[in-house]
């Protein structure tokens, strides 16, 4: 019997080639999107799961509270003493491993590269994380100081085909390290990607960090600390014991300002968005968002199938009737139509697979992923595809199946079915749902676009264009004056300023601030972020002063005891008028001095963050970041000049630089990707919806051929007929706009709240989305309407 059904299904598909094409391509496009997004979601969900103990590994995080109890800083890292102390105070913890991310100039023979993703790691790292060691002994490779392990690609980069074990290389031209092993890199789906592992005992050396610092430096929270816990361990119990643990080990009341917490390894990528993370993480919200988009596109494609199938049912009604007369039970007919739709969906699946393969490189391009086709062949994924195809076939086929088989056999054979098809309430509802989804996507695209434009044009309060960023070796701070002088000799260099951090990065450092209360200095409850700058930083970035003056070489105390605040800092410290702050005594950490000026607020961090209170002061030794403001007219010349001086000043350091506007772009990379994805999927949603609309309008026109003929005979013009045929569809599209607008408004409001500074959702977005969708729908429908309206009435009447 199934053989008979399939044969008939194929013949039907072939007979209605155009509709089959519309139908299959709609479903195939929908499935392609669905599969691509499923690959993306699967990838996001698979982070850090390659480790054997993945479900027992937890990362320690540390939160600092302001005196008023509000969170001032949340770190995914902790101070170095925590690890060993936790192991000591909680004996049930099986292993504790600490990682310190660093980088530097690696030199082996004539090969020299600045390297990142260098992790100093406790020797038991391989007991916690499952990593494949290809050479060397994983049990002791990281035991001795100045041992280093290379990832396989890095070993090939430095040593080619030579055996890396035992090779000696220099780091930062100071210390020598011996290669003790080679490991296979962690998969892309990992929250950290070490290229090198350095033995933790190296840090005991005073030239590197010092054993004392490891024991007692509670302020240097840059160690990622991971715990391997026993099976079925109650993590909340340990977290509850952390306050007492801190008060015991750091100082009494330490728990009032420092909070420790644990997060499961496998949750880090999607749920952890702290102020410090090893790499930028993903976000579970996007997983939800993309899942939702994937689902909705599939829904749109299913609706297409349902609508076209019910519309075409008019032509197949006779078949249903006849089968019933002959003795087919309804169940058998339902089965027949379901197997037909499943067949169609499976054909679409095959096409979709090819399309996925074709689209994957481009998709990888803007999702910054390395998704591979192999995942499609993974048995679980293949089973999922099969399941989805079956499910889609069932869902898409169910309505036509039950609808068609409900026909009374006699009525059908007498041709009474056409009329009832014209006003299918359900079909109209489905078209509305379809277009509503498309309109939501259009509005979302418009809002994301306008927010990105807003960000681009936002007055940041500083200059971000033509800014070259250099990283100074620490030893250069003392003779920087000379370097600066030489750089400025070239007319293409406008200004050169130094700072501890550069705009577009986070401000993470803060000390206690004190102001005069009555006649003595009193500590404030306010967290003020610190930024070390030299006297040229403010002019380089063209930051405006609101009151007072910038640092100056004319005042010797400016290098030691002077502060410049931003407006927000002045406000939170309690001065109503910025000028009032100037001249006051101010103490920050151990530095006691005077406020000499106030800058206008500028958006140092991304627009996701509100402007923080900032105190700027000149602290030698922390000014490693150099910003060079150049004229835009001769980029190559300016860069050549900087390069030349760099090579002369630092002959052992490769010349590396970046542009601020590139960094700035990266701040919103996620949103840019979203914008691209939104526009693409909105486009696809509209396209599939229109395919459906096209098919529907063709059928409606066919059903109304006689009516059109009669109207023409009675004198109707082509124009009036076109509007007659198009009107019904437009009504549906307008209803869908009305339904979609509030949904889109709410969704985008939530999205925008993630930005501390965001655009409003302009009123014109709605009419714009409306005009776009109506326009597209009109073009789609009118093609058929005009065609039908132009037919010679004699023809259309005869056809009945």
């Amino acid at each position: 019997m199934i053989h008979n059904y399939l044969k008939l299904a194929f013949r039907n598909l072939w007979k209605h080639k155009l509709f089959s094409f519309i139908n299959i391509s709609g479903v195939a496009i929908g499935l392609t999107c669905f599969f691509l997004l499923a690959l993306y979601v699967k990838d996001e969900l698979s982070y850090d799961r390659s480790h054997e103990h993945a479900d027992r590994i937890y990362r320690l995080s540390r939160t600092f509270l302001s005196k008023d109890g509000t969170v001032s800083l949340q770190l995914g890292h902790a101070a170095p003493p925590f690890g060993p102390l936790i192991k000591q105070d909680f004996p049930e913890v099986e292993e504790v491993v600490r990682l310190l991310e660093t980088g530097g100039l690696f030199k082996y023979k004539e090969k020299a590269f600045n390297e990142e993703n260098v992790f100093v790691a406790d020797p038991n790292i391989f007991k916690v994380f499952t990593m494949n060691v290809l050479a060397g002994n994983k049990n002791n490779a990281l035991d001795n100081p100045f041992s280093i392990m290379f990832s396989k690609p890095m070993a090939e980069k430095y040593f080619g085909s030579e055996n890396p074990i035992g090779k000696v290389l220099r780091l930062d031209n100071q210390l020598t390290y011996t290669v003790t092993g080679v490991f296979e890199p962690l998969p892309a789906q990992s929250h950290f990607h070490p290229n090198f592992l350095v033995s933790f005992s190296t840090l005991n050396d005073n030239r590197v960090y010092g054993a004392e610092g490891l024991r007692s430096n509670w302020g240097n929270n840059s160690f990622s600390t991971y715990l391997l816990l026993p099976e079925n361990y109650d993590v909340s119990k340990m977290v509850k014991a952390f306050p007492a643990f801190q008060n015991r080990n750091i100082e009494p009341l330490a728990s009032t300002y420092s909070v420790l917490d644990l997060i499961k390894l496998t949750d880090i990528h999607l749920y952890s968005h702290l102020d410090s993370e090893i790499e930028a993480n993903g976000d579970i919200q996007y997983v939800y968002l993309f899942s939702a988009i994937a689902f909705f596109i599939l829904v749109i494609a299913c609706i297409n199938y349902m609508n076209l199938a019910t519309a075409t049912s008019a032509t197949r009604a006779k078949e249903v009737g006849m089968r019933k007369v002959i003795g087919a039970a309804r169940g058998q007919l339902v089965y027949q139509y379901l197997s037909e739709s499943i067949l169609l969906v499976f054909m679409a699946v095959i096409i979709a697979m090819f399309m996925v393969v074709l689209c994957l490189p481009a998709f990888n391009g803007f999702t910054q992923k390395e998704l591979s086709i192999d995942s499609l062949l993974d048995p679980y994924f293949a089973a999922m595809i099969f399941g989805i195809a079956l499910f889609t076939g069932l869902v898409a086929g169910s309505y036509p199946a039950f609808f068609m088989t409900s026909f009374e056999p006699i009525g059908v054979l007498k041709g009474k079915i056409g009329a009832s098809l014209k006003n299918g309430m359900l079909r109209q509802t489905l078209v509305v749902v379809q277009f509503a989804i498309a309109v939501v996507l259009i509005i979302s695209t418009a809002v994301v676009y306008s927010q990105m434009k807003y960000v681009k044009n936002f007055k940041l309060g500083y200059t971000k264009d033509q800014m070259v960023l250099l990283g100074m070796p620490d030893d250069s701070t003392l003779h920087f004056g000379g370097i600066r002088q030489r750089l400025k000799e070239n007319s293409r260099i406008l200004e050169v300023g130094r700072s501890s951090r550069i705009p577009s990065s986070r401000l993470l450092d803060s000390w206690d601030a004190f102001v005069m209360k009555g006649d003595s200095m009193a500590p404030t409850d306010i967290t003020i972020k610190s930024l070390s700058v030299d006297e040229d930083f403010i002019p380089t970035y063209q930051i405006d002063m609101a009151a007072g003056r910038n640092f100056s070489t004319d005042f010797s105390t400016d290098k030691t005891n002077a502060f410049v605040l931003n407006e927000t800092a002045v406000k939170v410290l309690g001065w109503d008028n910025v000028a009032d702050a100037v001249g006051n005594r101010f103490k920050y950490g151990e530095i006691d001095g005077q406020i000499i000026g106030v800058t206008k607020d500028y958006h140092f961090e991304s627009l996701h963050q509100k402007v923080a209170p900032i105190v700027m002061f000149n602290q030698q030794g922390r000014l490693q970041r150099v910003s060079v403001h150049i004229t835009g007219d001769d980029l190559a010349g300016a860069m050549a000049h900087i390069n030349e001086i760099w090579d002369e000043e630092f002959p052992n350091k490769p010349f590396e630089y970046e542009f601020l506007d590139q960094r700035f772009g990266r701040l919103y990379a996620t949103e840019q990707t979203q914008q691209a994805l939104f526009s693409i999927f909105a486009g696809i949603a509209i396209f599939i919806s229109c395919l459906g609309l096209l098919g529907l309008s063709m059928f409606m026109a066919e059903l109304r051929t006689k009516e059109i003929g009669v109207r023409k005979v009675l004198g109707a013009s082509v124009g009036s007929l076109v509007s007659l045929l198009s009107k019904d569809f437009l009504k549906l599209v307008i209803i869908s706009i009305i339904i979609a607008s509030p949904i889109a408004w709410y969704g985008m409001q939530v999205w925008l709240e993630d930005f501390a500074y965001h655009t409003e959702i302009h009123w014109w977005v709605y009419p714009l989305a409306g005009v776009i969708s109506i326009g597209i729908a009109l073009v789609t429908v009118s093609y058929q309407s005009i065609k039908t309206a132009m037919i010679n009435p004699v023809k259309s009447l005869r056809s009945e």
């Binding site: 009737g321 002959i326 003795g327 309804r330």
Partner: protein
């Protein structure tokens, strides 16, 4: 034997009620060939549909070979119809996407007849209808007369007790029409009961008995000898 007693059929829409059949009493004996005649709209087809178990009467009783069927659900009627009743329509109602062979095979599929037996039966029937050479053609490729022969083949392939024909020659020219009538007569002579709705006195002359309907009532019955 089919026995219809005091049968009524009323079609009700929201605004009007139409009495299509009103107090019909009719018995059709096994092996009989009955023609039903009457002007358009007198209820001929409605009666035929009820006889063929495609529809239920509004009131009255109908005994179909020993079963009371007037209250049966569509599902039960479908079950009973299957294999027991064959239909021939004026407009043939062949399924366009199926070949001649497949159209004729369809009732056997729903009766779950094994494949080999199916082939034999379909071939035998097609031979009998002289349509074997067209077995792989699609309905659109056949003439009207040929299509009706296929429809008759489909109606008889499962060897039903009863064949119902609704103006079987209505869409055919006289030569083809005569052909179809001869086929029906042959089937009847082999023992199949036939009830046929027709406008044509010539067609009716093939029957043993003609029932004349007017405004939903049987007005006369003529017996042919």
């Amino acid at each position: 034997m089919l026995t219809i007693t005091n049968l009524q059929k009323i079609f009700a829409t929201e605004e009007v009620e139409t009495t299509a059949l009103n107090g019909i009493n009719l018995t059709i004996n096994d092996g009989e060939f009955v023609a039903i005649m009457g002007p358009s709209g007198c209820g001929k087809s409605t009666l035929l549909n009820i006889i063929g178990l495609l529809d239920n009467p509004s009131s009255g009783t109908y005994n179909f070979y020993g079963s009371d069927v007037e209250k049966m659900s569509e599902r039960q009627r479908a079950q009973l119809r299957k294999g027991n009743v064959g239909f021939v329509f004026q407009s043939f109602n062949l399924i366009d996407e199926l070949t001649v062979f497949e159209n004729v095979e369809l009732p056997l599929l729903y009766l779950k007849v094994p494949s080999k037996e199916r082939d034999e039966k379909v071939e035998a029937t097609l031979k009998r209808m002289n349509m074997m050479h067209r077995r792989n053609h699609f309905p659109q490729q056949l003439s009207g007369g040929q299509q009706q022969r296929v429809a008759i083949a489909r109606a008889v392939v499962a060897k039903p007790k009863l064949i119902l024909a609704d103006e079987p020659t209505g869409n055919l020219d006289s030569a083809n029409g005569k052909d179809v009538m001869n086929l029906l007569q042959e089937l009847n002579e082999e023992g199949t009961t036939i009830a046929m709705v027709t406008h044509s006195p010539y067609d009716a002359s093939f029957a043993h008995r003609t029932v004349n309907l007017f405004d939903g009532k049987i007005v006369t019955e003529n017996f042919h000898v």
